[in-house]
């Protein structure tokens, strides 16, 4: 061997060893490895395009920079009216969510207890066969992160194709009380005002809301007005001090569940001081109270009856119930009674995750209607959403167990007929009975078949119920031990849900696919695919269509329309059918555009008119109703029901609630009495437990916990304890404690004087951490109308962990 050959052999040996080490390190424990990044990009070939942020319902538009097929930078979109070029820390780092090295890249089926890679073909066949064998035992659980076309496809597949109404979204856990609140007040869903009110209000009241962390861009829109010298009064009505409180002039801390009493106290004062808006009330309002038996629309009452019901809610009585001083109640009464002030109310989970969710929503709308703080720029009751398309997909496409697109419902014969006509289905295809709502659906899935558990196959798309359902020990884990229950999960990472699944499908996310979202202020947004998904990950919408097609091929009648064509038949410009159910052909046409144009036909029924797809391509979102003008342009609407802006209000009407429950163009002012919470602290479980979110993490943290900047800033869940409670319990900062309710227990580190500051007797735990699942402790009691569970209130006790931790906690695998 000469010297040269020897050198070459050594070089090859070194390279082979290195290659083996690199290859093994990369693929250990993962189904398939992701490509390693090339190098830091130079920016010469970067291309920018708009996309709404992947996270909350604020709906900021971002400019996403792509180079060499990868997202490399993000900027706030200066043309976006929502965020005006700003983003929050999650938005700025949203690009990183695509690149967690443990992205799911191949379908996996559980074989002998272990998730094993399989082909897409086998995965689609498995689902189709299970549905074909037991179509009634199938349910689809989606989310407010479905894009509009994804939700629409799922909706049509279930209700139009399978004649099965067991489709419900995680938004049921998030904003369904806001929906029932709007429906029972105005007869139609979604806020009348928009974020524009935040620029014009004199007073902003946040009801159990922490926008400084949860909707930071909106909150900045308000507080930065002050920095510019404008005068604005911020009031935080909450159960715990938060970052929002730090910015507020007034903080009114109330006992959990007593927000109803505060709203009633304001109403009491408006009437007693004769400062309510008589003209507004006489022209535009009717009065309502609970009927027996109770219904969502209640019974009509007179103004005098309403007045009498409010008599007992004097400021002193409200102080007694709520703990908020009578003076503060009078302050609120005076603000609402002041004709010159523009007042906007914001709320989110505090009012919605509430066993009296519908009632408190009604009352806050009522306070605004009674005081006439409505229909003028800066005066509006506005609910916020946590998910990017809770409004656009869930509420507008109607992916709830009772809903049909465009605000129609399954239990209305005319609505079913209209839907069948648009979908070209034989008459009578759509089932008239609403399906299971979320809690019911998971209860049935976690109950053996012979005990009435008639949901046997459950397909989860774009959400993480294994972390976010309440009382997991009752609603989620049992199904995993019952024979014949099959859980399918489409997701991007192996989440707390996917870990337990029988079949896992790898999904494309955000700018790896085309999409449309609808934010909290009725703004519909559009974006294009920018980069390829990793490995074999594919769009959720394709997954739905592929399963539908396989069922069509298996001869399932429901997958055919009246003329025998496939229900998702999409034709190209030449009129030829494009086989979009084949992945290689899916992007031959813009499937989003086709589905959206079909969906648009529904949107006029409830005056939620949408513009053609191409208008959204040009805009940074448009707020519905979007109506075509004489010159062919499309005009959006900022203020609904108000003559000066809403094109559907008749001339001279001033304010017109044109979907009024009472058919007389009037909204309803409700009376609901205050009542105690279903579970209150007692001697055995002496503390209130509230759960919620933090700035850095979005919901269950599957995306944000994989982003270094966000993870490093907030690495794990904790329990906030008041220092005096900690003192009494002998607990120090950082010590681990066991938090225990009647339903379960978990171990958490204590953070005293941390991000938020709960009052004595109250504790707070964020739910973003899949290692520390607080929903093993929470209560699944829900609002009777919205079916939304109350994650904000239950009774717990805490105790110190006796020994220090030496081993890892129980593993969730398997």
């Amino acid at each position: 061997m000469d010297r040269r050959t020897f050198l070459k052999a050594s070089a090859m040996a070194a390279a082979t060893t290195a290659a083996a080490r690199l290859a093994n390190a990369q693929s250990s424990g993962q189904p398939a490895a992701l490509p390693v990044p090339t190098r830091r990009a130079g920016g010469d070939s970067i291309t920018w395009d708009k996309a709404p942020c992947r996270f909350c319902g604020t709906g900021c538009h971002l400019q996403v920079g792509v180079e060499n097929g990868r997202v490399v930078a993000v900027a706030g979109d200066p043309l976006a009216e929502v965020n005006k070029g700003l983003a929050c820390v999650k938005g700025y780092h949203v690009g990183s969510i695509l690149y967690g090295r443990d992205r799911l890249t191949t379908p996996m089926l559980r074989k002998n207890g272990k998730l094993t890679p399989i082909s897409w073909d086998e995965a689609i066949n498995t689902i189709a066969n299970r549905i074909k064998d037991d179509p009634k035992g199938f349910a689809l659980y989606g989310s407010g992160q479905w894009t509009i076309p994804e939700g629409y496809a799922a909706q049509k597949f279930m209700k139009g194709g399978l004649a099965n109404n067991h489709i419900d979204p995680n938004a049921r856990l998030c904003m369904s009380s806001a929906v029932t609140g709007f429906m029972s007040t105005y007869g139609v869903d979604e806020p009348a005002g928009t974020f524009t009110d935040l620029d014009q209000c004199d007073v902003l009241i946040m009801w159990g809301n922490n926008p400084a962390e949860m909707h930071p861009v909106l909150f900045s829109r308000v507080v930065d007005r002050r920095a510019r010298g404008e005068k604005i009064t911020l009031i935080d009505i909450g159960t715990r001090r938060t970052r929002t409180t730090d910015h507020c002039q007034h903080y009114m801390e109330f006992n959990p569940n007593s927000d109803l009493a505060i709203a009633l106290g304001i109403m009491h004062l408006l009437i007693k001081n004769n400062t309510y808006d008589k003209e507004f009330v006489e022209k535009y309002c009717n009065f309502r109270a609970n009927s027996t038996p109770p219904t969502l629309n209640g019974k009509s009452i007179t103004f005098d009856e309403y007045k009498k019901s409010l008599e007992e809610y004097t400021p002193e009585r409200v102080e007694e119930i709520s703990g908020v001083s009578a003076n503060d109640i009078r302050l609120l009464g005076d603000l609402f009674g002041n004709k010159d002030l523009r007042i906007t109310s914001l709320w989110c989970m505090g009012m919605n995750q509430h066993t009296r969710g519908t009632a408190i929503n009604n009352l806050v709308h009522g306070v605004h209607l009674l005081s006439g703080k409505f229909g003028k720029p800066g005066s509006a009751p506005t609910s916020l959403t946590g998910q990017p398309s809770a409004c656009g997909t869930v509420r507008e496409v109607g992916t709830l167990s009772h809903g049909l697109p465009g605000g129609l419902v399954v239990n209305n014969e005319a609505h079913r007929k209209t839907t069948e006509e648009i979908w070209n289905l034989p008459a009578g295809r759509i089932h008239p009975t609403p399906g299971y709502h979320t809690v019911e659906m998971w209860e049935k899935f976690s109950t053996p078949q012979n005990q009435g558990g008639d949901i046997n196959t459950l397909w989860v798309q774009v959400t993480n119920p294994g972390q976010t359902l309440p009382n997991l020990n009752k609603l989620f884990y049992p199904s995993r031990k019952i024979d014949g229950k099959f859980l399918i999960v489409s997701d991007v990472y192996l989440t707390a849900t996917a870990k337990h699944a029988d079949l896992v499908l790898p999904s494309a996310m955000w700018v790896e696919k085309n999409g449309m979202y609808g934010n909290s202020e009725r703004r519909t947004q559009q974006w294009f695919k920018r980069v390829d998904p990793p490995g074999q990950a594919r769009d959720d919408c394709w997954q739905t269509i592929a399963v539908a097609r396989r069922l069509f091929e298996l001869g399932v009648e429901g997958m055919k329309d009246k003329d025998g064509n496939f229900i998702f038949s999409i034709k190209d410009a030449q009129g030829r059918e494009v086989p979009v159910w084949r992945w290689q052909n899916y992007y031959d046409v813009n499937v989003d555009r086709h589905l959206f144009e079909e969906y648009r036909k529904f949107t006029g029924f409830k005056h939620k008119n949408l513009a053609p797809y191409d208008e959204y391509v040009k805009a940074r979102g448009l707020r519905w109703p979007v109506v075509e003008q004489k010159d062919g342009s499309w005009r959006e609407t900022q203020f609904r029901f108000a003559e000066f802006d809403d094109p559907f209000v008749e001339k001279g009407a001033g304010i017109q609630f044109y979907h009024s429950v009472t058919d007389d163009n009037r909204a309803l002012i409700w009376f609901h009495p205050w009542e105690p919470a279903p579970e209150v602290p007692d001697a055995e479980y002496p503390f209130w437990l509230c759960t919620g979110r933090v700035l850095e993490h979005w919901h269950s943290g599957t995306m944000t916990m994989r982003v270094p900047e966000l993870r490093n800033a907030m690495p794990q869940a904790y329990i906030e304890v008041h220092p005096e409670d900690a003192h009494v319990l002998g607990i120090a900062n950082g010590e681990e404690v066991i938090v225990e309710s009647r339903r379960g227990q978990i171990k958490l580190p204590v953070w005293i004087n941390g991000r938020g500051k709960p009052p004595r007797g109250s504790m707070f735990v964020p739910f973003f951490d899949e290692r520390l699942l607080i929903n093993e402790v929470t209560l699944e009691a829900y609002d009777p109308w919205s079916k939304q569970p109350d994650y904000k209130k239950c009774a717990v006790r805490i105790r110190k962990v006796a020994t220090t931790r030496t081993t890892a906690p129980k593993t969730k695998e398997g």
């Binding site: 070089a11 090859m12 082979t16 290195a18 693929s27 130079g42």
Partner: protein, 104 residues
């Protein structure tokens, strides 16, 4: 005659990976080792340091399907002293010297 031991990271996309392998096989300066998942050990032999630099820094990374080039070892022991000691500047704009001072 510099000898370099390299590890090339190839694309996960099967068609791209195959294309890269075929193109690499055609290059007489390269000896290919056994592919490990998507890492390919390679020995490169060139006449001059300049050629070696260009191969490692520019040519290999330009091949479609090659994602990254790791240098594991280099041997210059057979290289004549007279070889170029200054490496030719690269053409990337980003590496331009940023010290152009504004006129004052």
């Amino acid at each position: 005659m510099p000898i370099s031991g390299l590890v090339l990271t190839l694309s996960d996309e099967p068609s791209l990976q195959q294309a890269a392998l075929s193109q690499l096989a055609l290059d007489s300066r390269l000896s290919l080792g056994e592919l490990q998942v998507n890492r390919l050990p390679v020995v490169a032999e060139t006449d001059t340091i300049r050629q070696s630099t260009r191969l490692v820094r520019e040519e290999l990374i330009m091949i479609p399907g090659v994602i990254f080039v790791d240098v594991v070892m280099v041997d210059f022991s057979d290289t004549p002293e007279t070889d170029e000691s200054v490496v030719e500047p690269t053409t990337h704009k980003t590496h331009d010297r940023p010290d152009a001072r504004p006129p004052d």
